[in-house]
Symmetry: C2
């Protein structure tokens, strides 16, 4: 893996970079659509490419359970399996198993958990998380960490930071396919700046290809998120990619880019789409609303995506109202296109040293007024 | 509407024709994909075009209830509403309301029924079925008929044939938009050849642009279906299009083409697809089966559709197993492509006077052996 930063903003900490991975080059900042179970929901890989995505994320926990990482390995790896030949990042499975609540038990060795599908018993450790990700063959693999919930008392978070560090050392040891796969460490520490600093320093000590900031956007207020993010960033080497995990809302993405973050992923655009909410330059639209019953305009008049070129709000509302799959499909395409376009324009703005103004305008349009009329 | 038959098979009653409608030309024999609620399930109109469909069917009952035919009329008609600029055929709503069972009551005036969605009360008559279809703006509109269930005693069917005829006279009177819309009458008569003959003669008496054969493929054995179909066909003028309603299985389609039928529609290919059954040249495949777990071949090795070009059975099986929408979507595309390809090859075979051999080969491959291994 190569990571080259070819421009640092003069206005802020934003930067333009280029990540070269086994399966292709990724311009940063970048938003990675999520293909949880080897499918970006409702869309074909070809469409995800048409949208402009150069890297997607897939989930270790889900693929381990079904169809199984060993089966995927036998079939040639995840790229071949799902017919996506550009880079893939896989998470470690940690976030998902920690989300299982009562179905999991944490020990120093790892996490015992029961499948959410059939209750069958499984065990994730730093070693087998890395082994599973090696079977999947993703370009970027994530360390197996503990993502603590919010709120959580400082004492627990402090212990967890130490455990995540010990697990990272084990991940690094288990990480053998270094030519084709790149291990990113994950910085935790909850909403405690001192613990964030400690976690960042321990993680960076491991000298890895990239660093992620985890455990944010898990329910804490926006100001706490941004404060801890900004505080953490200074401890990550400037020449390494920084990845803020699980964030997909325009305000956090743009603020994080301003703080020097390079990579993002989130199910938000596709999950919102399936619920009938479209992202537009003038804010979010709930397409089921009666307001749109006879609205012959596109979701977003300024958008060039096929959904906006071909279909009216009235038709999309109808599709959602009667439960036609085409509705979620068309809005999923649009929402991913919307974020891809936002990131593309972000990179242009950084290039032209007008990012801060771009960000303010964009967020004013998106959040400044609620254009939804009903 | 123009209908030109440019070739009659020397081997059988099959023929090649060309139907010219307001929105385009349709080569016959033709299979019409069904877009019940203004959407061919899971697919975009662009994809349905790419598959080669030149005409689709939409359902009056469903569109009347949601979003409402008057709304569709205000938005410019069904073509504009769903962004499909090729011909559309709408049914009369009769079949759906008769399927409601206890929720409907038939009188001479029409059918009172309750919505399957919210129980609200509605009334369909020959007059308002035609008015609704005029609001939808379809190229071919269907007469409001009574489709009797199978089995049904002869006496009832005989009365029903008469009522369907009286309703047809009322439909014809209500049909005013004759420049742009073409009314097809529907021949009923159950599985009673004498009643089929009577219904055909009464229907043909009305001198309409085209004729449909209804009330078949409603549960009767295949031999009764084909016998009644063959018997009916002789009473329909040779220069008019003949449409066998609700049929989508290769055996009935090809046998019906041999008997001189020109048009078909059915939800079968898309409904089967959503259940995970793919049509292939060697028969049907149930993609969820464990057999396909590590099968890296396409659904149908001889198929040129994007599903077969890009995805393996193993991946499709995974998509169905985990419930990803992309699965039904990819198999829907494939199944419609399969039928379109079958019909295309049928027309070629008729042109080259080798239809009977083509039909026999095709059906032998499709039904001759069960290639599904588990």
């Amino acid at each position: 893996m190569q990571f080259e930063i070819y421009q640092n903003s003069l206005e802020c900490k934003a930067r333009l970079g280029r990540l070269t991975l086994s399966h292709g080059v990724v311009e940063t900042p970048v938003f990675m659509p999520v293909g949880t179970r080897a499918s970006v929901k409702t869309l074909t890989p070809e469409e995800v490419k048409d949208i402009g995505a150069k890297i997607i994320l897939a989930n270790t926990y889900h693929l381990y359970l079904r169809p199984g990482d060993e089966l995927i390995a036998r079939l040639g790896g995840l790229h071949t399996f799902m017919n996506w030949d550009l880079p893939i990042l896989t998470d470690s499975g940690g976030f998902q198993v920690f989300s299982l609540g009562k179905l999991r038990q944490i020990t120093e060795e790892g996490v015992a958990f029961q499948s959410h599908i059939d209750g069958s018993k499984h065990f994730f450790s730093p070693e087998n998380s890395i082994a599973i990700q090696q079977n999947l063959g993703s370009d970027i693999i994530m360390a197996f960490d503990e993502c603590v919930a919010y709120p959580k008392e400082k004492e627990y978070v402090a212990q967890s930071v130490q455990r995540t560090y010990r697990w990272l050392l084990r991940c690094k040891k288990a990480w053998t396919n270094r030519e084709r796969q790149n291990l990113f460490g994950i910085i935790q520490g909850g909403v405690y700046p001192a613990l964030r600093e400690q976690s960042a320093k321990l993680t960076v000590e491991c000298d890895l290809p990239g660093y992620a900031i985890g455990g944010l956007s898990v329910g804490e207020p926006l100001d706490l998120l941004l404060k801890n993010l900004d505080h953490t960033e200074q401890f990550i080497p400037k020449d390494k990619p920084r990845y803020l995990m699980g964030v997909g809302s325009p305000d956090i993405i743009l603020n994080a880019i301003e703080m020097g973050i390079d990579m993002f992923d989130c199910v938000l655009p596709t999950r919102m789409a399936r619920n009938g909410t479209a992202m537009t330059q003038n804010g979010q639209i709930t397409i089921r609303n009666a307001t749109y019953k006879e609205d012959t305009s596109p979701l977003d008049p300024k958008c060039s995506c096929p959904t906006c070129q071909n279909y009216t709000r009235a038709y999309l509302r109808h599709l959602f109202n009667v439960g036609e799959i085409l509705g979620p499909r068309l809005v999923s395409y649009h929402n991913l296109h919307f974020l891809a376009e936002m990131i593309f324009r972000t990179r242009e703005a950084i290039k032209q040293e007008r990012f801060v103004q771009f960000k303010n305008n964009f967020l004013n349009n998106y959040y400044g007024q609620n254009r939804e009329e009903d």
